[in-house]
Subunit: 249 residues, 2 copies
DNA sequence: GACATGAGAATGTCAGGACATTTGGTTGAC
DNA sequence: GTCAACCAAATGTCCTGACATTCTCATGTC
């Protein structure tokens, strides 16, 4: 039976890349769907043909398709084939405001940059909605207040901020530096938790006895939806707390 | 290297069943984890050994494991193995109660009232904008989720709520009880922190090793500005984190 | 024209195999 | 006691192969 031929999508597979083959394929197919090059209901190229065209095995192609199904982008049925899924409506979550954690303190904050380099980090890239192979500017800073170590802060930013210097980052806060370049994060997703510090954190924060750290992970985006930064901060719990005001009037 | 042997779970595979083998396996493993026969952190039998024991191929076992990872029940790391995931409660820093949040996520909350009495407490009174000599209703509760201790919660309320009973407080969450009497907190000031647990908290929360608690203090007021409650909660940090969304557009 | 049947197309399931990478414990050297 | 190197254990990735099941269309018969 001559089914309607699935649409062929331009795909580049790089076997020298450290990114798994299935992941490269999944991302490019997802990009094509998300960009609107395929519309809901469009038939997809079948898994065998796509595999032959790209020189990939069927399980590898199936693994990529599976990821797209999990993201809600594709629908697959045995005997019928693969089609582009209908777009779902996403509801915005209700919001609260968060006090800026350090600007109210009045203490004399200082920053020491422990590390500043370009890296690849899949987890950070995912938190910024960027491809796993994306290069990111990774900065690790030690923040002190009144000469007392308070926090170790790790941040990852897109390499559009690759020209940030140690001097800038030590002279003022990261967000102040970003504001000076016209970048204003307006949306952030934060998760607050607690754990015991690692050996390195104990050293930097001068923690001697048994004392936890308060952690906060944050993904921040600007008004246009561009990734600004992903941060993973840990604070000496004895010296730090986070204040949240809730107003549901 | 002799790793700790993964726990063996009783599994019945029926090859005459129309249910796919991977699905039969996934369901029985999930049931064992959900039923508590395996605890967070427990090592799982590795995929090769499990396959050999059940006469299943490695891809079939991996497919079952993959489903459990997707459900948040297992954690897998290359070179290390498969372990039962920690149960994490992710909570939005909105004006909701833990009971409401756990009920919504299907985590079967229960409450045990440890103490219910009228007291004077200067600190709590101050947090409620009340005179230091004001009498307050003081309640201490142990909250469990899925039979696992999660939080010790201390609350102080004005004595207008003095007729609250143990039964009411054990049957549903504090805020549900308040709503039933037409009381609705709309403004709250919350402080999130971390510390090491007290001996009593260790006992109630069944904390054995070195593990911190995540703390949240909250003063809540109704629309007219009347004090509703002051709460001081501590949560097992390995099982709890707080989610905050920020939108400043 | 309606209905049954068969076949082709495509996905679903399962198996076996191999190599790469990560992790953490052990061992030996200093 | 510390540190580096090595190795075993375990998962991650990718491949080839085969059979089962579902779906739809074409064809033949009445």
């Amino acid at each position: 039976m001559a089914r309607q031929l699935g649409v062929q999508i331009e795909v580049q597979i790089d076997r020298t890349s450290p990114v798994p083959l299935y992941h490269q394929l999944a991302q490019q197919l997802a990009a094509a769907v998300t960009a609107g090059r395929l519309q809901p209901g469009d038939p997809f190229e079948n898994e065998v043909a796509l595999g032959e065209r790209l020189g990939l095995s069927r399980p590898t192609v199936r693994r990529a398709f599976q990821d797209l199904v999990a993201q809600g982008l594709l629908v697959r049925r045995r005997g019928l084939g693969t089609t582009v899924a209908n777009r779902k409506v996403h509801r915005r979550a209700e919001l609260t405001s968060l006090w800026d954690d350090l600007t109210r303190s009045g203490d004399a904050p200082t920053t020491r940059v422990l590390s500043l380099e370009v890296v690849r980090d899949e987890h950070a890239a995912a938190a910024l909605d960027l491809p796993p192979e994306a290069e990111l500017l990774h900065v690790v800073r030690l923040r002190t207040a009144d000469a007392t170590p308070l926090a170790v802060m790790r941040n990852w930013l897109p390499t559009t901020f690759g020209d940030l210097t140690r001097e800038q980052l030590e002279h003022e806060g990261l967000y102040a530096v970003l504001r000076a370049r016209g970048v204003r994060p307006v949306v952030a997703h934060q998760v607050i938790g607690a754990r015991m510090p690692t050996a390195a954190e104990r050293r930097h924060l001068q923690i001697r006895g048994t004392e936890p750290v308060l952690t906060m992970s944050r993904s921040a985006f600007d008004a246009a939806g561009n990734a600004v930064e992903y941060g993973d901060h840990c604070y000496k719990a004895s010296s730090y707390s986070i204040e949240v005001m809730v107003d549901e009037r």
